[in-house]
């Protein structure tokens, strides 16, 4: 993900250097397909050089896990060598769709609402990506063969599904989605290699909470993790001040947990889900 974002950033800079821009939309969108293509290329090379051998050996899943650990080290190093460990910002175009002040003037309410263009973009792109993935997995022949392969390898082989093809498509999908997510996150929050590495763990949590193998579950898992993070660390003082009469106002910020524990919450949810319902909320498969 970090790698894909980096390539996109580099292309964005190149395009910005050429004076190309999309008006109100960030230039990164134009660079995105190129970034995705390069990431797919990289991941396929890695698959050929690393994973294919172990697949041929029918290695245990743990070996794949360790191999992917090695690849993670390499990607991490490459990204830091090429773009440096510092933070990069690459958004351009229009920053806000609705600003706090505009909203207040328009609605006459006392509390403001803000919508950044990058946030709107994230929502739109996620909707499109989920819809496309659903259509692919449920309706197309390739998608069906992929699900069959993941359910039962031997049966899938017997019915003439080519495993290498399934693996190839899986990698292409993974690279595309990861680059997409990386660029969107980077547009909103800025890019730095160490942050992107830390994202790995909440992503794991979201996928497992939702249930592996179910795209709807993955989205739901992401929402559950994110919402519980915010709801448990939100300072309810402001909220209560509208509900309670003055003398009842509690002191302090009225948080359930201090904001520092935001990260930890996703793991608590993860561990609870693993213990109580290991297949995830949407009854995905076990790895």
């Amino acid at each position: 993900m970090a790698f894909g974002t980096m390539v996109t950033i580099l292309f964005t800079w190149w395009l910005q250097g050429l004076g190309v821009s999309l008006g109100p939309l960030p230039t990164a969108l134009l660079a995105l397909p190129l970034g995705i293509a390069v990431t797919i290329g990289l991941i396929l090379i890695c698959d050929r050089w690393v994973y294919r051998y172990h697949r041929g050996q029918r290695a245990k899943p743990v070996i794949f896990l360790i191999a992917s650990l090695g690849l993670m080290f390499i990607y991490n190093g490459l990204v830091r060598i090429i773009i440096g460990p510092g933070e990069q910002r690459f958004e351009d175009g229009q920053r806000f769709i609705i600003t706090v002040r505009e909203f207040r003037e328009w609605s006459g309410l006392t509390e403001g609402l803000m919508l950044r263009s990058s946030q709107a973009l994230t929502i739109v792109v996620t909707l499109i990506a989920v819809a496309a993935l659903f259509w692919f997995l449920e309706r197309t022949r390739t998608g069906k063969s992929m699900r069959a392969y993941s359910d039962n390898e031997d049966l899938a082989l017997l019915s003439g599904i080519k495993p290498e093809r399934v693996v190839l498509i899986a990698w292409v999908l993974a690279a595309t989605l990861a680059t997409l997510a990386g660029v969107l996150y980077g547009l909103d929050k800025g890019f730095s290699p160490i942050n992107y590495f830390h994202l790995l763990l909440p992503i794991f949590a979201a996928a497992i909470v939702g249930g592996l193998g179910s795209p709807l579950g993955a989205v739901a898992g992401g929402f559950i993790v994110a919402f519980s993070e915010v709801l448990l660390t939100y300072a309810y003082r402001r909220f209560l001040s509208y509900l309670l009469p003055e003398p009842w106002m509690p002191e302090g910020l009225v948080q359930f947990l201090s904001t520092n524990y935001k990260f930890a919450i996703s793991f608590v949810i993860l561990v609870l889900v693993l213990l109580i319902r290991p297949t995830g909320i949407f009854r995905g498969k076990t790895i």
């Binding site: 899943p61 896990l65 690849l71 190093g77 520092n260 076990t286």
Partner: protein, 442 residues
């Protein structure tokens, strides 16, 4: 592989490793060589701990960072002097809050055990947890605020017990072991891949607590000046024998003092490592070790032979984590400071995994070799990378883009090198440099 060739290989590889330190001593400096050696020993202890879990029993624990951090916290809690003011400001209410937490947990467990399964039980547990949360929160919050406001620039935490630092190593091991028992009790029923993800998450939770409970550990404000098990260089310089030695070696007193301190550390670490190694080897070759390997290779068969798989897993999980906790405590002692912000999974979990996989899982000597080797290259990759980058691009101008990029990137070369080493080992030597020795004699 049979025992004789394995012994020869072990000897050969360890000799090569020793030579590498001598080379660093001559090329860079002896002081640096000794520093690296000391950290290598700590890495070796950590790798040994992981080898007990993964090599003996096949437990996929990626929560090493949490246990190492717990060991480090133990050093702070045991060896630092107590802060009297903070104790009087909020110590009592903090203890009350902790008692409430304990009471809540015990009450919830009792209800869970006593009541029949059903909605009543769930509601009762939820009620206990919510009441307990608010009760302990009511005591905890003012206490934490009071403690943290006592001289925040210097203390702002409860401090430790002021006991000798050597004791804290044992406490660190016990603390990590207790945590492992709790975690193992909850998670060891999971399949190996789930265990991995659960431990990864739990390590992050442990770290979050250490980082943000400032009344306990000062959090990201760090704890400096942890008592040392060896004398200070500055005191050593004044002593008679150091001066004599300096004159005889043709060196200066400060340098000799610094070297002496490092040698002392090396002695302490080496003796701990040797003791641990003796225990680990004895355990591996005992009937207990054979049983562990039997469980690892075929759980169903071992279970059919009447071995209590879950119990043995818990046992080995606790032992391995205790060793990791000990290594974490030693690391903090040698650094002289506890910096919760420096614990990252890449360095404290995944690197240890690389050590064990490359060294040879299941072979204790392999784990130690892996620990020493990988840490050595983790540190030395930068100078070597820098030298390579400079040599390769020496034909180019000093301000050439490629050259500056390569020289700047040399620091991050080690990530790439580690990844490559891991992948190559998996591909060409899947059992590691020193593979497990099969007990059968040929």
């Amino acid at each position: 592989m049979n025992a004789a060739t394995s012994k020869k290989q072990t000897l050969l590889l360890f000799t090569l490793m020793g030579l590498a330190f001598v080379v660093v001593g001559f090329v860079q400096s002896w002081s640096l060589s000794l520093t690296i050696f000391n950290y290598c020993l700590i890495a070796a202890i950590m790798a040994l701990g992981l080898n007990i879990q993964w090599g003996y029993a096949g437990l996929f624990n990626v929560g090493l960072m949490g246990f190492a951090a717990l060991g480090g916290m133990a050093v702070v809690l045991v060896a630092m002097p107590p802060v009297e003011e903070a104790w009087s400001a909020g110590g009592f209410s903090m203890l009350t809050a902790l008692l409430f937490v304990l009471a809540t947990v015990i009450a919830a467990i009792v209800v869970y055990k006593r009541l029949p399964k059903g909605r009543t039980r769930n509601l009762a547990i939820a009620a206990i947890l919510i009441i307990g949360y608010f009760l302990s929160r009511a005591w905890y919050e003012p206490a934490a605020r009071a403690i943290e406001s006592v001289n925040p620039a210097h203390t702002g935490y409860l401090g430790g017990l002021g006991l000798p630092v050597a004791l804290s190593w044992i406490v660190g091991a016990i603390l990590a072991g207790c945590a492992a028992w709790l975690i193992g009790k909850i998670t060891l029923g999971l399949r190996s891949d789930y265990l991995a993800i659960a431990t990864l998450g739990i390590a992050e939770i442990i770290l979050a607590i250490i980082k943000y409970e400032e009344w306990l550990t000062r959090g990201v404000k760090n704890v400096n000046g942890i008592p040392r098990p060896v004398p200070f260089e500055i005191d050593l310089q004044q002593t008679e024998w150091v001066r004599d030695l300096a004159v005889r070696l043709g060196s200066t007193a400060p340098e000799v003092a610094a070297l002496t301190v490092k040698v002392a550390y090396a002695g302490i670490l080496l003796s701990i490592l040797i003791v641990l190694m003796w225990f680990a080897q004895t355990a591996l070759n005992s009937p207990w070790g054979r049983m562990m390997r039997a469980i690892r290779d075929n759980e169903a068969a071992a279970s059919a032979m009447g071995k209590f798989v879950k119990g043995r897993h818990l046992q080995v999980f606790v032992l391995g984590s205790a060793v990791v906790g000990l290594a974490g405590a030693l690391l903090v002692t040698m650094d002289g400071q506890f910096t919760p912000g420096s614990y990252i999974p890449l360095r404290f979990t995944f690197l240890i995994w690389v050590m064990v996989i490359v060294g040879g899982s299941g072979n204790n000597y392999g784990a130690i070799l892996g620990g020493v080797l990988i840490w050595f290259f983790w540190v030395e990759a930068e100078p070597i990378g820098l030298w390579l980058a400079n040599t390769l691009t020496s034909g180019l101008a000093a301000d050439n883009v490629l050259r500056t990029q390569l020289v700047e990137g040399a620091a991050h070369m080690r990530l790439v090198v580690m990844g490559l080493v891991l992948l190559l080992t998996l591909r060409f030597r899947p059992k590691g440099l020193l593979p497990e020795v099969s007990a059968r004699r040929h």
